[in-house]
Symmetry: C2
Subunit: 289 residues, 2 copies
């Protein structure tokens, strides 16, 4: 079964397990709305790729870790879209959760998805219970205080913002968790896998910055976008689009160099480079020419 | 060390572990504001009492479970106080988290406390890692879908409300978790401990109903309160204050009868009865005379 099918199956199975007819049906619907239809699933695919490279001996543990990361990512999007943060009306081309179900159920859907994330990682580890401790602790570290995604989002509410901590926590933490949890799910030493995730998280941020700048180009005729409009830091504004593309290539090469010795290192290196190319906007080659 | 001191120490230690100078300081302050100064700590005290009755062989595991329950309770209060739910200005005699720190940090403080709850239960189980699986799964079940506190709160957003499920989930779930997790932390069979927690959760709800009715008596001269004003179900409105008191006594007796055979059963029975009396408003004897 390919990685995306495994991820979708695990997400569905976990949601089904907590969707009892005796529970509140609109909360269940709001949670599904947050998770399906799927986005790129880039973090859980990375998690499964690392588990495979480590010689995955318990696919259910890796599936649980991958789905847990995606549930956490979806929870963060639901809360980030709330009126008190981005006040986003749409997400992935349709209504955001708070616009479709109201603000109370959006808050609760995020909460329940955070809980489901821990539940899913525990269910996945049923045959490898000794791996649960590192799995829970790495998942929590990527999510909470002081360096997880909640901490990353909180920097926007501080009087002075530490930009490095902000980006490492808001974007990098779940990428690092993807590689670290993939290794932990396979029973491998997890710490050596952090750098790969961190470099890919940085590459993802730079690709996002490039896309933001190019998205503004069409309408305004100059290299700007939402980040310029809101005074947010953007690598493509600082380095230019060509400079940002070179930086992204360097980050992808650094990611490849950071892959530890493992049974599937060669395949993972090849996959890492092709994924880095996928990060670019689809018409990047044309526009950057 | 007495139970309350153990609970306060574990809550403080956990918060200290995630409060790095490199993290966002206002989120850390919002989390502490939600947890201190302490409320009655009734759920973690119940958890420690059950662990002791089971012949607690790993106090750190019990401490972790008790603190995890209290973090989850505090997280739910922070989110329930948000403008989109109760819009409460105060909590425990001072500003609610969203009034003191703003809505974004209140959402994130709740999220980060949910994460810290799982982290704390994992830290506590360091010397008994085989107990982590049931601890995580029972904690998640008490918190998420379909029967946990998030599900309970979500019933308020459903077009038709299942009152039984609503109260069992919103109030009962964390009481049942307190007894179940106390037993699981001590390495005992957890399922037999659920009924004690459920009966005490019902008793707590009835005591709350009595307090609500009596709170209205002073000002209006008739047995009413916030529940009557908002059309919420209230046992003391249905049964009268004297009838509700008799019901509370029956629930306390049912709780005592539900205590499984264990090394500390006698002491726990005595504690359960004295705790049930503490549930009543301080001037209950006088007013009900």
């Amino acid at each position: 079964m390919d990685a995306v099918s495994r991820i979708e199956r695990t997400l569905s199975t976990s949601l089904d397990r907590v969707d009892s007819t005796a529970g509140p049906p609109r909360l269940a619907a709001a949670m599904r709305h947050a998770v399906f239809p799927r986005g790129a699933r880039i973090r859980p695919r990375l998690c499964l790729a690392v588990a495979a490279a480590c010689g995955e001996d318990d696919p259910a543990a890796a599936d649980g870790a991958a789905a847990a990361i995606e549930f956490m990512h979806c929870a963060s999007l639901v809360h980030d879209d709330l009126p008190c943060f981005d006040n986003a009306d749409t997400r992935r081309g349709r209504l955001s959760v708070h616009r479709a179900f109201g603000e109370p159920l959006a808050v609760l859907a995020g909460d329940a998805l955070i809980v489901l994330s821990f539940q899913t990682i525990a269910w996945g580890a049923a045959r490898s219970p000794s791996r649960l401790m590192p799995l829970v602790l790495h998942l929590a570290a990527a999510t909470g205080m002081p360096f997880g995604i909640a901490a990353g989002q909180a920097w926007e509410s501080e009087p002075t913002i530490d930009m490095g901590q902000y980006q490492r926590a808001k974007t990098g933490a779940l990428f690092a968790a993807a590689t670290v949890l993939g290794a932990a799910a396979a029973g491998s030493e997890a710490a050596t896998w952090r750098e790969l995730g961190e470099r890919l998280g940085e590459a993802y941020q730079v690709a996002d910055d490039i896309a933001d700048v190019l998205s503004g180009k069409d309408e305004l005729g100059k290299p700007t976008g939402q980040d310029a409009a809101h005074g947010r830091p953007n690598a493509a504004l600082v380095l230019g689009v060509d400079g940002a593309m070179r930086h992204l290539t360097q980050l992808a090469e650094a990611a490849v160099a950071a892959i530890p010795d493992c049974p599937g290192a060669a395949a993972l290196k090849s996959l890492t480079l092709s994924e880095a190319r996928r990060l670019l906007p689809k018409d990047m080659a044309l526009r950057a020419a």
